[in-house]
């Protein structure tokens, strides 16, 4: 009996089922790619070979495609300028009048500032070299805000370089190939920019959410920000240099503080890349990650006063009968000091910082800063003559009243 004559004669795999299987297989592959993606790290490793290769191939295509659209844009600008010339002229006259007074003040301030710098011998920051590029494509959706620019490592561009236009901060380079670079805008949902409020010098973090106006979060201080405050980069973290203009503070419709970006005042077609290297690029990372105790060998010798105190304290620590009075004294000093010697701490435990974990020393003790070994030592339980010491009042240990 031939196969076609059997019960499987009319057996056909339904197209819907084969399509469904294809959907499942492709979805699993897409899910795997999504899970292994590390774009949000904003490091060179997040800019994989596939992304770099694609960007290098897409840049010339984007240039060709954008040319006619750019001409159209220029045409619309020309029409707009023609019809709104009178209003623009009026606005420019007002700006010129305002800027003339600012110019005079600027000249005077620069003169005074130069004299101060000479008197105080301030080391001013060196000028940052720049590279100019043109944006060839962009993404401006809620999930990604990025641009492709036609300058790469050949022009000295590196991952992490800040990008500005003539008005203010635009973003930072997150991937660079020889001819093109990928810029993550400050409005991207993965962007975090350390900023300061110019009026109060308060620090904050500018967080992108895919909209046109990034949020300001973690503002330090009460009343540190108000409508119209100028926002600058703070330079914290070393990614951006301090003082780059970012925008103006404004209240959002959701009640959060947001930034009206200066860079939105014009088209971001031509940009400048600041070839700025932060400290993590300048310093050997291994030196930054060296254990901090390596520097203890180079500590200065103790002063005579400190030597005397060490000698006074050292025999008391060796006495075996010391622990009982120390235990009794702990509640009186609000238990801030740990009587455990440094050598007995677990290796992974970070030694506490004086300002946060130990009480403020008395004024007399503050003059001679004790070395770590003596700071961690417990107070002597008995006087040299054998009489037990009285617990030190908390107010004396903590005159400022800090908890």
């Amino acid at each position: 009996m031939a196969f076609r004559d059997g019960p499987f004669e009319n057996l056909k795999v339904p197209l819907v089922w084969t399509a469904a299987v294809a959907v499942v297989v492709a979805a699993v592959a897409a899910g795997f790619l999504l899970l292994t993606d590390n774009r949000e790290d904003l490091t060179a490793s997040g800019y994989s070979g596939a992304r770099g290769t694609f960007d290098q191939a897409a840049a010339p295509v984007g240039k060709v495609l954008s040319a006619p659209v750019r001409w159209t844009g220029q045409g619309s600008d020309f029409i707009g300028q023609y019809f709104f010339a009178v209003r623009e002229n009026r606005k420019l006259r007002e700006q010129v009048a305002e800027l003339e007074s600012l110019r005079d003040a600027n000249i005077a301030l620069r003169n005074v500032n130069a004299r101060y710098e000479a008197l105080l011998k301030i080391r001013t920051e060196p000028a940052v070299p720049m590279a100019t590029a043109r944006a060839v494509s962009e993404s401006r959706g809620p999930f990604v805000n990025a641009r492709l620019i036609d300058a790469g490592t050949k022009a000295g561009v590196r991952v992490g370089n800040p990008v500005v236009n003539e008005h203010g901060l635009v973003g930072r380079v997150v991937g660079a190939t020889t001819g093109v670079s990928r810029v993550l805008l400050v409005t991207d949902v993965a962007s975090r920019t350390p900023v300061l409020i110019d009026r109060t010098d308060a620090r904050a973090i500018m967080v992108g959410d895919g909209g046109g106006n990034p949020k300001i979060e973690f503002v330090r201080g009460h009343g540190a920000i108000k409508e119209g405050d100028r926002i600058l980069t703070s330079g914290d973290g070393g990614v951006f240099p301090r003082g780059l203009p970012v925008g103006v503070a404004a209240k959002g419709i959701d009640g959060t503080w947001r930034v009206r970006l200066f860079s939105d005042r014009g088209a971001i077609d031509f940009v400048r890349i600041l070839l700025f290297q932060d400290f993590s690029q300048l310093v050997n990372p291994q030196a930054l990650n060296a254990p901090p105790l390596a520097a203890l060998d180079a500590a200065p010798p103790p002063s005579p006063e400190l030597t005397q105190r060490i000698q006074e304290v050292a025999p008391a620590n060796r006495q075996p009968s010391a622990p009982a009075p120390v235990q009794a004294a702990r509640p009186a000093v609000a238990a801030p000091t740990t009587a455990q010697p440094a050598a007995q701490r677990p290796a992974a435990q970070t030694p506490p910082r004086p300002a946060t974990t130990s009480p403020t020393p008395a004024p007399a003790a503050r003059k001679a800063a004790p070395p770590p070994a003596t700071r961690k030592a417990s107070p002597p339980a008995r006087r040299p003559d054998g009489t037990p010491r009285r617990p030190v009042p908390y107010e004396r240990l903590n005159p400022g009243g800090a908890p």
């Binding site: 399509a19 469904a20 492709a26 992304r51 844009g73 060839v136 962009e138 999930f143 949902v189 077609d269």
Partner: protein, 172 residues
């Protein structure tokens, strides 16, 4: 003398390849950094039209694979999380495929309602994926604007369905 008709077979290139290439070309053009009259160009997800129309035209193995590649292209072009739009559009394709028998033969406004639902579902999924991936929530207003821009592409989806739904009588 009567001349013979030339029969033209509607192949996968007609309803899969060319529309996919056109949608990617449109995505490229709309990603140019240009402002017209001070406004940036909208950024709809052009292949969403295909994810909605293809399962209604006919089920095929080639369509999900092409959607997967289109999604990867968008992720690379926009520097988005790799696999995001592939996963989202395959989800839309799968949902529409599963309710295909309910949608087929309905009037245009019913198709439009299904399309709006599919687009909203897609953006909700994308919003969730990005929030989990980045650890921060994207703007809802920005998402809503992009949803509107993608919904505005419904006439293309409708045209594609009307053009190719009856192209091959075997799938009626």
């Amino acid at each position: 003398m009567r001349r013979g008709f030339q029969v033209r077979v509607v192949g996968p290139q007609d309803w899969i390849l060319y529309p996919a290439l056109l949608s990617l070309a449109a995505a490229l053009v709309f990603s140019t950094p240009v402002r017209l009259f001070g406004l940036p160009l909208p950024e709809p997800i052009f292949p969403m039209v295909l994810a909605f129309a293809w399962p209604l035209i006919r089920p095929a193995v080639l369509a999900p694979i092409t959607l997967f590649l289109c999604g990867l292209f968008l992720d690379l072009q926009w520097h988005g999380p790799m696999g995001l739009w592939s996963l989202v559009m395959l989800g839309v394709y799968g949902v529409v495929l599963s309710v295909r028998s309910l949608i087929l033969g309905q009037q245009t406004f019913v198709l439009f309602a299904w399309y709006v639902g599919a687009v909203i579902l897609a953006y909700a999924a994308a919003w969730l994926f990005v929030t989990m991936d980045v650890g921060a929530a994207p703007s809802l207003i920005g998402s809503a604007l992009q949803v509107l821009a993608t919904i505005a592409l419904f006439p293309f989806a409708n045209w594609l369905i009307e053009r190719f739904d009856d192209g091959d009588v075997r799938f009626r």
